[in-house]
């Protein structure tokens, strides 16, 4: 137990120390009046505002954003994996889709989002559309690239055993792709939070993005910062959850990395 605490402190101690230091300096600077509180509110007043608005934030706006993020992520995951696998199996599909994928990422999100609002109105689907647009790209790319990683020698080996394409895919290429896919998922889930927030900024009736836009209109910096704090917390929690899923699913592969380091 003591040992575990020690490694934990070794890993995160320095980070926590810096965070505490930064927040203290921040608090002091604002309290001393160097920066006006409507520009940068003190950490304590952000916390106070979070507590005051906690019912509104935690029971209405956070669940609304979370719903958009999760739906957007799940749809991106399904669609992204299907497209990535399709591109892996069909060169024609790859040649057709890849340019479109890149174009979809070069179009400025802020510019295209009003189109979604036009199509889907203020319903949840306009937000989900923006979320999917930001989130599916890393999933497609990591699926596609993951399936290509270093499988050539294994492919030849299974071919000589009489294996067909499907067996090679299932027994070698999918397991090899999983670590790469998980890297993509971690990025994607964070982008989901960004996408949902942008969607809400442009048109919504609830959600943390909507709330922070309203607060910035009212010049209520402390409430705005409280919403931002919750948004980044949401991103961190989702990121850690994907990391946990990865750890559980890829136990043996992780083990291997660990022992190599020794």
């Amino acid at each position: 137990m003591k040992n575990r605490f020690k490694t934990w402190a070794e890993n995160y101690g320095l980070f926590l120390l810096v965070v505490v230091l930064l927040i203290s300096v921040w608090e002091w600077v604002v309290k001393q009046g160097f920066i006006p509180s409507f520009i940068l509110p003190a950490p304590t007043s952000i916390w106070q505002s979070l507590m005051e608005n906690r019912q509104l934030l935690l029971e209405q706006h956070l669940p609304a954003t979370l719903k958009e993020v999760l739906l957007g992520f799940i749809l991106s995951l399904i669609g992204g994996v299907i497209i990535g696998v399709g591109m892996h199996f069909s060169r024609a599909l790859e040649k057709v889709l890849y340019p479109f994928l890149v174009i979809s990422q070069t179009v400025p999100l802020i510019a295209i989002s009003p189109i979604f609002i036009m199509w889907f109105g203020y319903s949840i689907w306009s937000k989900i559309a923006v979320t999917i647009l930001t989130a599916f790209f890393p999933i497609v790319v990591s699926t596609y690239d993951g399936l290509k990683t270093g499988g050539e020698e294994y492919r030849e080996l299974l071919l000589t055993m009489g294996g067909n394409r499907w067996q090679i895919f299932k027994k070698v290429q999918v397991p090899l792709a999983l670590p790469v896919l998980f890297s993509g998922l971690k990025m994607s889930v964070v982008y989901c939070v960004v996408g949902a927030t942008i969607g809400e900024w442009l048109g919504a009736s609830e959600g943390l993005g909507y709330f922070s836009r309203r607060m910035s209109g009212n010049l209520q910096a402390d409430a705005l910062f409280a919403a931002i704090f919750l948004l980044s917390l949401l991103g961190i929690v989702l990121f850690l959850l994907i990391g946990l899923a990865e750890k559980l699913l890829l136990k043996s592969v992780k083990n291997q990395k660990g022992s190599k380091r020794k």
């Binding site: 294994y154 030849e156 071919l159 000589t160 397991p175 890829l250 083990n255 022992s259």
Partner: protein, 223 residues
């Protein structure tokens, strides 16, 4: 070139002389521009899945245990797993891998990994095995042990082996015949007349050393 049933034949050549290409041709991964490949007295069109192939790297799947890695060819050929489990555990015993069934490849030594890969190749159930420098990546002591082990095992295996190496000692010790791949596609054949069963101490005997000298002469004269 020809290989008879139950023979152990080595192929020696400088790097770039096409040893691995030859194996890929026989295994069916490549098709010949010229010439024909006959297996079991018939000209073979589709060779994939008819020959056991062991590549240079062990290529064990790191997320599978030793037992599951050895099971792979059986899964591919869709045979009944249960019927083969006793055969596999017997194989693991014979290959000195008993007790390591549940170990992952990264927990094994280099020599053990090669033995697992070899056992996996045998579990394909094919008559002809192509071994592409299986001991090439091992240190000389492990290699020596593997030679003794393989010589002991060889009599019971009753397989036909084509073996790529650039180690002359290894070739003489293990083979019945040796093919030298020389420049411009020339091939020289050599018979190893040392009777079996052989032991790895053989390498210090005069006839062995003479044989090795002859082999080296052949290679250098060509150049």
């Amino acid at each position: 070139m020809n290989v008879l049933p139950g023979e152990f034949v080595s192929v020696i050549g400088a790097s770039g002389s096409g040893k691995s290409t030859l194996f890929k041709l026989i295994a069916g991964l490549l098709e010949p521009d010229q010439g024909q490949i006959w297996i079991n007295g018939q000209k073979s069109g589709k060779r994939l899945g008819k020959v056991g192939y062991m590549p240079q790297k062990d290529l064990l799947l790191p997320w599978r245990t030793v037992a599951d890695n050895v099971m792979l060819p059986i899964e591919i050929s869709k045979e009944k797993k249960q019927e083969k489990t006793s055969e596999i555990s017997e194989g693991l015993n014979r290959f000195g891998l008993a007790g390591f069934e549940k170990a992952y490849p990264h927990e094994l030594s280099g020599g053990m990994k090669q033995r697992v890969a070899f056992l996996r190749t045998i579990m394909t159930g094919r008559e002809l095995l192509l071994l592409d420098e299986p001991f090439g990546a091992l240190d000389s002591m492990t290699k020596h042990n593997m030679h003794s082990w393989l010589l002991e095992l060889w009599e019971d295996l009753q397989k036909t082996v084509l073996f790529i190496t650039h180690d002359l000692e290894e070739a003489i010790l293990l083979s019945d015949r040796i093919f030298l791949l020389l420049d411009k596609g020339a091939i020289k054949e050599l018979k190893v007349e040392i009777p079996r069963p052989r032991r790895s101490e053989l390498i210090y005997q005069t006839e062995f050393i003479a044989m090795r000298k002859e082999l080296e002469m052949l290679i250098h004269n060509e150049k």
